[in-house]
């Protein structure tokens, strides 16, 4: 099942609705990398609220998405990691090192807004 990617201002929102196959994940990565440049987005939010498991491949792919997006000039936030998923991930020693995480979509948008404002203040 492909993941819908929505555009909200200068933020792209990928809302994962159901468990993804490895292939779906790779498609999502390529799609996001393409759109970040094309739509000149400054932020990417990947919403994983619906997922009840994040394995090492999914974690690595999400990290890949974040690094690719950063190279293309956009900040990535992973939002909606469930308590059980978070716990399982630390047990397995998986982490989103260097990628921002937030409680839910709202928090993620807030985080991106704060960052871009901070960046602008810094620049100005």
């Amino acid at each position: 099942m492909p993941v819908p990617i929505l555009k909200q201002g200068d933020v792209l929102i990928a809302s994962i609705q159901a468990a993804l196959t490895d292939h779906d994940l790779l498609t999502l990565r390529d799609e996001l990398a393409d759109r970040v440049g094309r739509l000149r987005a400054h932020g990417v939010i990947v919403d994983v609220t619906a997922l009840d498991v994040l394995d090492s491949f999914a974690t690595r792919t999400l990290l890949g998405i974040a690094y690719t997006a950063r190279l293309r000039g956009a900040e990535t936030v992973v939002v909606g990691i469930q308590p059980e998923v978070a716990f399982a991930m630390v047990q397995l020693g998986l982490s989103f090192e260097g990628v921002a995480t937030a409680l839910d979509l709202e928090e993620g948008l807030e985080l991106l807004r704060a960052r871009s404002q901070g960046g602008r203040d810094h620049a100005g």
Partner: protein, 317 residues
């Protein structure tokens, strides 16, 4: 009766007595096929003296101060008497399966309920065995060796039964301790909200793997339910932190971070800090000296500003 059956079956599962365990117990008392056939040979002799042997058991108890809990209660006593004679009858059936063990557990539960002293029980059981032994030896007057062998075979079953009953008595006694431990564990991991989006997690006592999991789980749930952004984790009450505990704490911190919450650790005492350094453990988290400092730092990061105004009483005067 049905309830009671359920209770002892539950107890059997709780005590982890399985078919395999029963076989193991038989092996431990050295029960063999030869024993079984010898016990079968005793059937009629023992059955004929069941009432007498049972009476010996309870007479012995009646003479003991320690057994007053059982002897003074008529209903318990009657039930025990009935179970005991059933016990003796079952002992010589040479068929020891789950049901047999269940019956022994039932008796053990009754003793435990009556608060029967284990030493008194052992004494009375010995008196009963002595009585049965005498009966058997009398019967085998012509061939004492055979009588002795048969009695020893029966004794193996007696020890098998003592094993089960003792286990029940000990298990029931430890039940209270287990319940208290459970209560302490539940009480000791509160997650408190002290400001909007700011949680306080005071950790007190010993952290083991099990407790660390409970702490992490309740913290993560609280983060979601309160939409928390910051957590102050206070470890003032943790006496010692070794590499395992440090690892647990780090896991809790990273799990919280995955849910978008930042954790500040406070209250690392000088001993703990020194032992962490000495052990070469790096606690790669935000730390602030004490709880007050941690809360203030969290408030600052959340954009709160605490302003002191003149106290209310002073204002009104």
């Amino acid at each position: 009766m049905a309830d009671r059956q359920v209770a002892e079956r539950n107890l059997m599962a709780e005590m982890q007595i399985t078919d395999a365990d029963i076989e193991r117990r038989k092996k431990m008392v050295g029960l063999t096929a030869a024993d079984l056939s010898r016990i079968s040979g005793l059937k009629e002799i023992v059955l004929a003296h069941v009432d007498e042997s049972t009476a010996t058991f309870f007479e012995f108890l009646a003479g003991l101060e320690e057994a007053k809990g059982l002897v003074s209660k008529r209903d318990l006593m009657e039930r025990a008497r009935q179970l005991k004679s059933e016990h003796l009858a079952a002992m010589v059936q040479a068929h020891y399966d789950r049901h047999y063990v269940e019956q022994r557990i039932l008796l053990g539960l009754l003793y435990s309920k009556a608060g029967l002293d284990t030493r008194a029980f052992l004494g009375a059981f010995h008196a009963l065995l002595r009585n049965t032994g005498t009966t058997i030896m009398k019967h085998f007057e012509r061939s004492p060796l055979e009588g002795f062998e048969s009695f020893m075979s029966l004794k193996k079953i007696a020890f098998f039964d003592i094993g089960v009953i003792m286990d029940v008595l000990v298990f029931e006694r430890e039940r209270v301790i287990r319940q208290q431990q459970e209560a302490i564990r539940e009480l000791s991991t509160p997650v408190l909200q002290i400001r909007d989006r700011l949680l306080l997690l005071p950790i007190i006592g010993v952290i083991d793997t099990n407790r660390a999991r409970l702490i992490t789980e309740s913290l993560l749930r609280a983060i979601r339910d309160n939409r928390a952004k910051m957590v102050v984790m206070d470890v003032t009450g943790v006496a010692s932190i070794d590499s395992r505990v440090a690892n647990h704490l780090l896991q809790t911190v990273s799990a919280a971070r995955l849910m978008g919450a930042l954790v500040i650790v406070t209250g690392v005492s000088s001993e703990v800090a020194q032992s962490l350094v000495a052990l070469g453990i790096e606690l790669t988290v935000n730390t602030v000296g004490d709880l007050q400092g941690g809360v203030e730092e969290a408030e600052r990061l959340l954009g709160y500003r605490v302003v002191q105004t003149p106290p209310a009483a002073a204002q009104s005067s």
